[in-house]
């Protein structure tokens, strides 16, 4: 093992190529490179990296297996703690989680934990399949899972493995939650999500798609047919800027824009029937992962000029560093310290511009970040023909509306116990974005694991 070996670079599609396709940007480690990278790990006795991982994957454990070229051994170690490693290896904010804590990062660069995790998961999927897990002794209890994002899928897997009969209800026509409708193909190929869902189906999990719980059948109705339920309906309520002109043709929420392109495959229009505006000049408001995904999607759809408009400075941008770096490489223009004031339309009600104002950083606010304040008289106009509002999502309220006993906080998030994920209704558990507000895939999965444990305890003991 050699800590001085440099962190192995991930080969990537060149920006000028990938700007024109929806294929994945990183090309993946080869087995040889993965082994070299794994060799950098010091196999710490007290591995700090594990503390940084929300589901406490045995990181040195799986890396050791890679270094010894036992890739299937590595995936087995990961699967003890995580059910979606091919996803997390790609989309986890590793630089602020496991890799941020890696001891090597103090003097050199941290071990590429996420990339190694993705590598073994891909190896398992593409080269050498792990034998399907044998479900535990069949139990006569039935569990309903509402929402099929990472939180719901995690619980489905754990409970099916434990022998319960599991039914997943999903509002859309494809399971996967944000993994299928939000995160674009070039960051997370949909075949990975399909593979995981097929594996769950093979375990006996039943998927009822096109079913919105809370509209006709309420949570209460579901509880008449099931012994326990897990609510994982996510943060699917788009926020708008509330500035004049948002009703114009050509103004999208990021959810709508990304759903059209990802779930409905508008990037293959007219082969697929759903259209999306492919502007010549577009603006994206916001600077998180969702904004980056939107901007990079717009580039790929052939938009010449994509502006990312954010009222604070680069340091405050919430997106993963890798994502904003990729966006800049692909030609996205960052208009920082800039705030939209109003959207302008032509005589047909079509968006044609945005008036912005320049900002400067003032005193720190409650969050400790310096508050942006307008610079008077600095207004200017950018010509655009489409705009995407990516400033966050609230909680999806549909299920709660017909579940009056389910306690929520003032933002509409379901209140759940932090260790068992129990809600105020007997037999009902909740987790993921619907509890925490918009967060991350791995946190949603972590909540799912806690809930699965809580649910098994409850189903076995019957005591609440």
């Amino acid at each position: 093992m050699n800590a001085k070996t440099p962190r192995q670079k991930m080969p990537e599609q060149r920006p000028e190529d990938r700007k024109r396709n929806f294929d994945e940007v990183p090309l993946g480690y080869t087995p040889e490179v993965a082994v070299v990278e794994a060799g950098r790990c010091l196999q710490c006795k007290k591995p700090l990296c594990v503390e940084g991982c929300p589901v406490s994957i045995n990181i040195p454990g799986f890396i050791k297996e890679i270094a010894e070229k036992n890739f299937i051994g590595a995936i087995k170690v990961i699967k003890e703690s995580s059910s979606l490693p091919a996803v997390c290896g790609r989309v986890c904010p590793q630089e602020s989680q496991c890799e941020a804590k890696c001891i090597l990062g103090k003097k050199f660069e941290p071990v590429a934990i996420g990339k190694l995790e993705g590598f073994v998961a891909d190896y398992e999927r593409e080269v050498e399949h792990l034998p399907a897990p044998v479900p535990g002794v069949k139990k006569d209890k039935k569990v309903a899972i509402i929402g099929s994002g990472p939180a719901g899928l995690t619980v489905a897997g754990e409970l099916a493995n434990a022998g319960y009969s599991v039914t997943v209800f999903e509002a859309l026509h494809t399971p996967g939650g944000v993994l299928v409708y939000g995160i674009p193909e070039f960051r997370l190929p949909k075949k990975i999500v399909t593979y995981e869902i097929d594996a769950l189906a093979a375990l006996g999990v039943e998927f009822v798609i096109n079913r919105i719980v809370g509209l006709s059948e309420s949570l209460g109705d579901i509880m008449k047919r099931f012994d326990a339920a897990f609510v994982a309906t996510g943060a699917g309520l788009p926020s708008f800027l509330n500035i004049p002109g948002e009703e114009l043709q050509g103004v999208y929420s990021a959810n709508e824009y990304l759903t059209r392109v990802n779930l409905m495959k508008a990037y293959k229009f007219p082969e697929y029937d759903t259209p999306v505006i492919r502007g010549n000049s577009m603006a994206v408001f916001g600077a998180g992962n969702v904004a980056m995904d939107s901007a990079r999607t717009a580039v790929r759809l052939g938009c010449d000029e994509v502006h990312l408009i954010y009222r604070r400075s680069r340091d405050e941008m919430p997106a993963r560093a890798e994502e904003s770096h990729h966006a800049e490489e692909e030609g996205v223009i960052f208009d920082l310290l800039t705030n939209p004031v109003r959207l302008l339309g032509d005589e047909n009600g079509r968006l044609c511009g945005v008036e912005c104002v320049k900002m400067e950083l003032g005193e720190p606010d409650d969050s400790g970040r310096r508050r942006p304040v307008e610079i008077k008289g600095s207004e200017f106009i950018i010509k655009i023909d489409a705009a995407i509002v990516a400033i966050g999502n609230g909680s999806n309220p549909i299920l709660q509306k017909t579940a009056p006993d389910l306690k929520c906080n003032k933002w509409g998030n379901i209140i759940a116990d932090e260790t068992t994920m129990k809600t105020s209704v007997k037999g009902v558990f909740a987790g993921g974005d619907i509890v925490t507000g918009a967060a991350t895939v791995i946190e949603a999965m972590g909540a799912g694991r806690k809930a699965a444990k809580g649910m098994i305890d409850y189903l076995e003991s019957g005591s609440w």
């Binding site: 026509h173 096109n210 009600g349």
Partner: protein
Amino acid sequence: MHYIHSNDIIQPTLGKMVVDAPYVAEYRKPGQFIILRIDECGERMPLTISDADKTKGTITLFYQIVGTTTKKLAGMKAGERVKDIVGPLGHPTEVEKYGTVVCIGGGIGIAPLYPISKGMKEAGNKVINILGARAGNLFILEDEMSRIGDDNIVCTDDGSRGKKGFVTDMLRDVMAAEQVDLVVAIGPVPMMKAVSMQTKEKGIKTYVSLNSVMIDGTGMCGGCRVTVGGETKFTCVDGPEFDGHLVDFDNLGSRLKTYHVEEKESYTTYNHKCKLDGAVGDEC
């Protein structure tokens, strides 16, 4: 997958489909709709549930053939299957006893109006139906509607059937003749706007049903947003019915034009593909 029991083209540009959707049939109420997706490449298209048979587990849809998806739908045959149907979606109509209710349907709007009119009658209201169309051969559900209404007025723009004139002319006469407690108007945007302006003057409560562009139908995308009383509302979850006196119809009309260019492109491509393949909808 949803088995198609029948699919008939009842007028040159109008189809009627009866299709399996047991869950929808079980729960649907007047004023609600479904979203369907024909095949893997298909759009998600909203259509109102015009009728349902709980025991058979079927629903009835009427669709105007205007673009790619509706044309694809028209090409489907009994025995084939629609890939996805989700629903019932949206708020049901608030059916209760108001007194005298005038139900106004324009063109395809008669299809969603039918269950509402029926519900209003069953709730003990006096129901006056006003049905309008451009020409006499474009009516749907005329017999069914006439069995419900205490009074049924049919009119056409060209006078080729019933009275000559617009539904607004008929409404004016009705309002002059008697006290009206509620108006429900479903049809083209300009029609709903005109009716709402008329009833606003008289202070008669008016419901209209909006047909914004939709994707998910669950309140997740905001693409269906409309301005009602100065506030932003999502048609799929807050509607589709709203107080006609508060709706910004001009903005709705404008947003419906968002994809005009793409819709034409899609339609041309689709027709081209049909000619090449000679078949519709197998691979998509």
